[in-house]
């Protein structure tokens, strides 16, 4: 299957890039650590407050943080995409019979691997700090994180191809970044928010993942809110990937 071979080849190419320059993984690992050390202690006094009643404060905080790691690992990939557009790499490959889907998928898969490494590393180092991790719950949580990454990485790459210019990409990406994070309930649970904010949050994929992640971390797998997260993320992922592939097919870069 050409589509699989090509995806494999292009994944290897991007993975090799990461391995040669592991600094990016190290940087993405440092962000959650900064949150854990400089922000999580602020939450300690909130135990018992609405939304924090599930035991250790890290059980509320870490799942949200993992969602944000997944979200951010994909959102900013457009900048490297723009580099490749400007250097003619995408154009060169589009003149070969390479599968258009593979052009996208190779990159997204690399991001997925990077994210998984960071997320697992991070869940593990949070355990000594008091994070209670339910193994099976985490296994159900991982695909949600994966879909979040696939969505943002596809979106980021397609945006890079469409805009083709860092100065145009930066405001768009930042414009998506902040509201999604604030309305995900990652920093503080959305239960604390006024109703109108809670309503808006229901349009935010990160919100569903954060809510499901908090349940899954303590092993509550068969919960409607976990199902809702899947019901939201599966179609969103499919639609975004389809749209991004189309962009790669049509790009006039």
């Amino acid at each position: 299957m050409k589509i699989l071979t090509d995806t494999g080849l292009l994944f290897k190419r991007k993975m090799l890039e990461t391995l040669r320059n592991p600094i990016f993984i190290i940087i993405s690992m440092s962000t959650p650590i900064v949150y854990l050390v400089l922000f999580a202690p602020l939450l300690n006094k909130l135990v018992g407050v609405q939304g924090f009643n599930s035991g250790h404060v890290l059980n509320v905080f870490i799942p949200g943080l993992l969602v944000i790691v997944a979200f951010l690992s994909g959102l900013f990939v457009g900048f490297t995409m723009i580099d490749e557009v400007k250097n003619g790499v995408l154009e060169r490959m589009r003149v070969t019979p390479t599968s258009r889907f593979a052009l996208l998928a190779g990159r997204v898969l690399r991001d997925l691997v990077n994210m998984t490494v960071v997320v697992v590393f991070f869940a593990l180092i949070a355990i000594p700090f008091g994070f209670h991790l339910n193994f099976f719950g985490f296994l159900v949580f991982l695909p949600l994180l994966g879909m979040m990454l696939i969505t943002t990485s596809s979106f980021g790459n397609a945006l890079g191809v469409i805009l083709g210019d860092e100065d145009k990409l930066a405001p768009v990406v930042q414009g998506v970044n902040l509201p999604v994070i604030l309305l995900s309930g990652m920093l503080l649970p959305m239960e604390l928010a006024p109703v109108w904010l809670q309503v808006i949050a229901h349009f935010n994929p990160a919100y569903y993942c954060v809510v499901a992640g908090r349940l899954l971390a303590i092993g509550h797998i068969y919960q409607p809110k976990v199902l809702y997260a899947y019901l939201f993320m599966v179609p969103l992922t499919v639609i975004t990937v389809a749209w991004a592939t189309r962009t790669f097919r049509r790009a006039i870069s």
Binding site: K2, G88, R92, R94, V95, T96, I252
Partner: protein, 325 residues
């Protein structure tokens, strides 16, 4: 050369919407490229060269008209076209964080070669384009000329029936330009067919067996560089004379009426005269100057170059648009 053309277009068109109305980027282009030749596509920036190239390389679909590349229709069989062409875009195409050799092997694999074949082909191209010295370094560290040679090698991986080069020497220093010209000629001698765009007159002149001049989306002239020059050209002479303010305008007027003169223009304080046959015209010119009592102060013979062709066909000089050319 009655062989089947490698590139053949009929009334190829591409229009883009813009704020000021439709831009006819490519407006009915007809051309044919024969196997084994270097075909030059000359025109200023914005003439529609790159848009034409993008259609021929399946990057964008034509609005109307027809284009056959390597015998396949670009609109209907883009996959077959892709298998049979090589393309080096204006920005190159080599992947900067990877090694040169890796770029070549990946390209081969994307064309469906086995790893062994792709490796072997990479070795061949590294030799052919003299990349040995730096093939195993990361492309980031390459000089502009080295990277350009790698770009060309990448375009050749699938042994294309025609190699498209879009402005191959833009941004290269003079030494690297000449070096690349040598490489391009070498490729041709090994049987490659090359379609290149350029806005450099000397490049089109030095490399192309045949060329087309494009302006405002249309082809305004086509032929071998010699044919094109012969068509416009004639022997021209630029003379400087004494008392030019008075004598040059008068001479322009008188000479304009003579049979042997094709064209006469005043170039600031000098006079440029183009004639069909210089040997026959010279005595008549001297006699006229004598009669008028005008003293000759300088004489400069000029050979026709492609800019004269360009000027004649488009009404403006390419040199004015591209100072570096």
């Amino acid at each position: 050369m009655p062989a089947e053309p490698v590139v053949l277009t009929e009334e190829l068109k591409k229009h883009f919407p813009s704020k000021a109305g439709t831009v006819k980027a490519v407006d009915g282009v007809n051309l044919d490229v024969q196997p084994g030749e270097i075909f030059g596509f000359l025109g200023p920036n914005g003439a529609g060269k790159t848009t034409t190239l993008r259609m021929l390389t399946t990057l964008i679909p034509p609005d109307s008209g027809k284009a056959l590349v390597a015998g396949f229709d670009v609109a209907r069989e883009p996959d077959k076209v892709r298998l049979n062409i090589g393309y080096v875009g204006q920005n190159g195409g080599s992947d900067r964080p990877a090694k040169g050799r890796e770029n070549l092997i990946l390209q081969g694999r994307l064309y469906g070669m086995s790893t062994a074949d792709a490796r072997q082909r990479a070795d061949e191209l590294i030799r052919l384009l003299d990349l040995t010295e730096f093939a195993d370094r990361i492309v980031h560290t390459y000089s502009g000329g080295q990277r350009r040679r790698l770009d060309v090698a990448i375009g050749l991986v699938n042994r294309p029936k025609v190699l498209f080069l879009d402005e191959p020497t833009t941004g290269l220093d003079p030494q690297n330009r000449v070096n690349l010209w040598t490489q391009i000629n070498k490729l041709q001698s090994e049987g490659a067919t090359i379609f290149l765009t350029t806005h450099y007159l000397d490049e089109a002149d030095a490399l192309s067996d045949r060329l087309a001049i494009m302006d405002h989306g249309k082809i305004v002239a086509e032929g071998t560089p010699e044919e094109l020059k012969r068509e416009v050209a004639h022997d021209c002479v630029t003379i400087g004379v004494s008392d030019w303010k008075e004598s040059v305008p008068k001479l322009v007027e008188t000479l304009g009426e003579r049979d042997f003169v094709l064209d006469v223009t005043q170039e600031e304080e000098r006079l440029k005269l183009c004639v069909r046959d210089f040997a026959a015209a010279l005595p008549q010119l001297m006699r006229l100057l004598d009669e008028r009592g005008v003293k000759l102060e300088s004489v400069e013979l000029s050979k026709t170059n492609l800019d004269d062709v360009f000027l004649k066909k488009t009404g403006y000089s390419l040199r004015d648009l591209t100072p570096e050319g």
